[in-house]
């Protein structure tokens, strides 16, 4: 049923519909609304899940690792410092091949203390073996969360569903909340491939000496490769029931585009508006939305951007000493492709600064007017700080 729903609550609804059995989280803005709603559902009996209250994000994920190992469907949510605190266990969850699903509300890392949108928190966890899916609107958040369980459980890797702080998490908009029966049809009960069983005791994840460790790592990468394929199949099945799909990488008017903007998260949505405006003025611009970041769909991206003459990547994140992280990944994907278009990197919207239609348009014109990128990253709208923000 279509209803006006907050982005956070779109996640909560999806988790309810997925019949998750164990939930654990530690509150942190801007994630908290997700868990508040879920804890109400558990308390009111609208969900049959066990809601484990814990003393930290580290414990939240540790609890889910235990729960998931016992063969149940699990969920957690966090942001920023909370995700950083989970870091060690993020590796554990993927190494142990547990299909845990997490909602990660992108929030800037501190200090300076900042609760607003910034993707650096989740992108800093790109090497932990989690599948990462970036969403741009409430409907996509709901659909992706439900899909994530199918994906995670079929490849035995954990999934992060990622949404921008406030621009998505706290924004109310119409969302179609599907019926339980339809979701049940799409997402049957979890059938674990292994689980803790007191009747049949065994130890998981004990010592893995050098003669097997590499094989295990390779096995995870094989699962990641397989996840690329599975993602599409999951989307197909979802589409057949609900009529919606998002694609790992969504090209918008890229076929004849001279300049392709590469975006992720809510910037994509605003960029669609800019794209329409520029196209109306005759500009040959295209938009490439990267939803699936891990595994990174390298060949798809190569194929989709190669006809363009320039690529402009907008990053609401930054890797210090390097560049915007999506730009890095796109460059890495293209570098072995002979005659690939130059990649312009733009950093915008860090710490919740608004990425307005004007900024996106500015990025387009800058790219169009430049020959080749003069710097790895162009920081959009950065103002000169004439005074020290603080003294030692």
């Amino acid at each position: 049923m279509q209803q006006v729903l907050e982005g956070s609550h779109a996640v909560s609804e999806a988790v309810r519909l997925a019949r998750v059995q164990v939930i654990s989280a530690y509150p942190i803005t801007p994630q908290t609304h997700i868990m508040e709603r879920l804890s109400e559902y558990c308390a009111d009996g609208n969900m049959g899940a066990r809601f484990l209250r814990v003393e930290s994000e580290h414990s939240a994920l540790a609890a889910l690792i235990g729960a998931s190992t016992s063969g149940v469907r699990t969920f957690t949510a966090t942001s920023s410092q909370g995700l950083a605190l989970m870091h060690e266990l993020l590796h554990w969850a993927s190494g142990a091949r547990l299909p845990i699903v997490m909602a990660e509300v992108n929030r800037a890392m501190a200090p300076g203390w900042n609760i607003w949108a910034d993707q650096t928190d989740s992108l800093a966890q790109r090497d932990t073996g989690w599948i990462q899916l970036y969403c741009e609107e409430g409907q996509e958040v709901l659909d992706t969360t439900i899909q994530s369980y199918r994906l995670a459980e079929s490849v035995n890797l954990p999934v992060m569903v990622i949404l921008d702080a406030f621009f998505l998490s706290h924004t109310f908009e119409p969302v179609d909340v599907p019926e339980q029966e339809s979701v049940d049809r799409f997402l049957p009960p979890y059938q674990p491939k292994f689980q803790l069983d007191p009747e049949n005791p065994c130890a998981f994840n004990q010592l893995a000496p050098p003669d097997v460790y590499m094989e295990m790592r390779y096995n995870i990468q094989s699962a990641m490769d397989y996840a690329l394929d599975r993602f599409e199949e999951v989307e197909e099945e979802y589409f057949s029931i609900f009529g919606r799909r998002y694609q790992a990488v969504e090209p918008v008017q890229c076929e004849d585009a001279e300049i392709i903007l590469v975006t992720s998260g809510t910037v994509t949505s605003t960029s669609r508006q800019v794209l329409a405006d520029l196209r109306a003025r005759g500009e040959k611009v295209g938009l490439l939305k990267v939803k699936l970041f891990r595994p990174f769909p390298v060949s798809l991206i190569r194929r989709l951007v190669s006809p363009a003459s320039k690529v402009a990547v907008i990053d609401r994140n930054f890797s210090f000493g390097a560049s915007g992280i999506f730009a890095q990944e796109v460059r890495a994907a293209l570098c072995n492709l002979p005659g690939h278009p130059p990649v312009f990197g733009y950093v915008a919207g860090l710490g919740g600064r608004d990425v307005t239609t004007a900024i996106i348009e500015d990025i387009y014109w800058r790219t169009k007017n430049a020959g080749i990128p003069e710097q790895e990253s162009f920081w959009v709208g950065i103002s000169e700080v004439s005074h020290a923000i603080g003294h030692c």
């Binding site: 142990a96 065994c202 130890a203 010592l207 097997v212 490769d225 394929d229 599409e232």
Partner: protein, 589 residues
């Protein structure tokens, strides 16, 4: 456009998963020290003259197993209702918790159990041994005689009690005021003993001829006659009409006689009887004045009782001794000699002497004498220094060539005269007689000795019967043996009591009942010194997972094939229920 890349098949799932155990390594062979579970003796148990298994009682209460806890009391003491009220609780003096915050209110928990048993009409499962042929006559139905009858019954012996008074109970029935011990409580405890088949003959005074008359009927006679004869002041005027003996006065009250007092009631003496008389007098309308020859702190009466007497309006005149009593109209004029302190004896009591020429006179309306008591008949007491008498800690045994063996017990052989010592006396006598009958006179000491609780002289009947407590070590747990990191500070329960004004209105019991939650909370304060309460610290801390829990018995055991003897379990046991010993290396090298 399709997003499908090269077709990828679902890869196999590789995770580290092992069904092997490293138990086959037998790392236990490397061990130099061996931990083992060993229940030990708590200081409270050892200090309890009845030898109650207090840490277990508290553990069971904390677990809500009230009937089991009550039965654990009954294993060693047939008088939980009485002792839960009037015992002077030496257990609490040595409670290890005293060094942590405050001792556990053990007596309060015992009374809680007795009250709970009464309220729920619990019937204890009291196990008894097979019937024996010997029969025992018990003279006096005070706590020692009743305790003896109780323990004998459990050992399989038939006994009969001869009581001079119309009802059983001795000092408990006639000597203690009801505000300390309501009669219904006493009767309930006695009824449970009589239900074991003990016969009692009331209103039956025994003469010395009795010992010979019963030859052939009884194999032994126990004399637990107590102190029923008050000591005289030996001063002029003592025999004046109306100068009352304190014990007789209390007895009169317990017989239900109506007494009204007014004016000042002087009580001479400093023992519990004196204080009982003073407090009773206060309830009957008089202003009590306790006259004692030493200082207040030297009074043999229990501190609590003295404090409450003062609260109830009694006055204490210390360092004064009466030298003359005269009757003037309806009053008594008491001449008091002042005393002075000239030092202290080994126990810290004042040594005193007369202050010459310092006397004073006081006019009082009532006068009670309670300076101590002795046995009513000389033959109740054990013969002095007779070589054939075996003197044990709480009873003496006189074998006779003709007639039944005579056992002396109760207050007449005790150093400390208390209810719980009388119970100890009955218990010791029961064990002694059993040994006498089964193995002969010379086997008595050796038969009793293994049943000492800790350092003794308390004895355990559970042990004597060979039940689980036998497995506990007699080694006493001291405060430094505990790992108190695992305990939290928690204040001791405050005994709820009647208000002063309410107390003075009647002889109603002063100490009020406590509820289940408070009872459990107090029992939870117990460290359970020396006994495993299945806290599982050993299992959680064992780095080798060599501590195994048996799901059916809930007991823990150590897998010695695997235990490397690191000793962590012993260190982390909060209550010293484990022991670390050197491994015998002789078999290995």
């Amino acid at each position: 456009m399709t997003l499908r890349q090269t077709a990828v098949n679902c890869p196999p799932l590789i995770i580290p998963c092992s069904r092997f155990t490293t138990e086959s390594n037998k790392t236990g062979s490397w061990r130099f020290l061996r931990p083992r579970y060993e229940n030990k003796t708590a200081p409270c148990s050892s200090a309890c003259p009845a030898g109650e298994d207090i840490p277990r009682i508290e553990m069971l209460v904390a677990q809500g197993l009230f009937k089991e806890a009550w039965e654990t009391v009954l294993m060693e003491n047939p008088f939980p209702g009485v002792c839960g009220r009037v015992c002077y609780h030496p257990c609490e003096q040595v409670c290890n918790r005293r060094e942590f915050d405050e001792p556990v209110a053990i007596r309060t928990v015992e009374r809680f159990l007795a009250d709970t048993a009464t309220r729920n009409g619990l019937q204890p499962d009291i196990k008894r041994l097979n019937a024996k042929q010997q029969k025992i006559a018990i003279v006096g139905s005070g706590p020692s005689g009743l305790a003896l009858a109780y323990f004998l019954a459990r050992l399989g012996y038939e006994s009969e009690i001869f009581e001079a008074m119309p009802e059983p109970g001795g000092v408990l029935r006639w000597g203690l005021p009801t505000y300390r011990l309501p009669v219904a409580i006493l009767k309930a405890d006695i009824a449970r003993i009589l239900e074991l088949g003990v016969h009692i003959h009331c209103n039956k005074t025994i003469t010395p001829r009795f010992l010979d008359e019963v030859t052939g009927h009884y194999d032994a006679v126990f004399l637990g006659c107590g102190h029923s004869h008050s000591l005289p002041l030996k001063i002029p005027g003592e025999d004046l009409d109306g100068v009352e003996d304190g014990l007789r006065f209390l007895q009169k009250l317990r017989q239900g006689k109506e007494v009204v007092l007014n004016g000042t009631a002087a009580v001479i003496g400093g023992g519990n009887t004196a204080i009982d008389v003073a407090r009773s007098a206060a309830r009957l309308g008089a202003k009590p004045l306790v006259i004692y020859r030493r200082r207040q702190q030297d009074m043999p009466a229990f501190d609590d009782e003295v404090t409450m007497a003062l609260e109830e309006g009694a006055e204490i005149w210390e360092l004064r001794t009466p030298v003359k009593i005269a009757a003037v109209e309806k009053d008594y004029v008491l001449t008091l000699q002042q005393m002075e302190v000239i030092g202290e004896d080994a126990r810290g009591r004042a040594r005193i002497r007369v202050q010459l020429n310092k006397t004073e006179e006081i006019s009082v309306q009532h006068l009670f004498v309670a300076i101590g008591a002795s046995s009513a008949e000389q033959w109740y007491k054990p013969p002095p220094k007779k070589s054939s008498t075996m003197r044990l800690s709480n009873c003496s045994i006189l074998p006779r060539s003709q007639g039944p063996t005579v056992v002396f017990g109760g207050d007449l052989v005790a150093d400390i005269k208390s209810v719980v010592h009388a119970i100890a006396s009955g218990k010791q006598a029961a064990m002694a007689l059993d040994n006498l009958f089964q193995n002969g006179f010379d086997a008595i000491r050796a038969g009793i000795e293994p049943n000492l609780v800790g350092d003794g002289p308390s004895l355990s009947m559970e042990n004597y019967l060979g039940w689980p407590r036998t497995q506990s070590s007699r080694s006493v747990v001291h405060h430094e043996d505990l790992n108190t990191d695992y305990f939290r500070f928690a204040p001791r329960i405050i005994q709820p009591r009647l208000l002063r004004e309410e107390r003075l209105r009647s002889f109603a019991e002063i100490d009020l009942k406590i509820g289940t939650i408070l009872g459990i909370r107090e029992a939870e304060r117990c460290f359970n010194c020396g006994i495993c309460n299945q806290c599982d610290n050993c299992r959680l801390f064992c780095p080798e997972i060599a501590v195994v829990r048996d799901d059916t018995t809930q007991n823990r055991r150590i897998n010695y094939d695997y235990c490397k003897g690191c000793g962590l379990c012993v260190v982390e046991c909060p209550r010293s229920a484990m022991t670390l010993e050197e491994e015998c290396l002789c078999n290995r090298y």
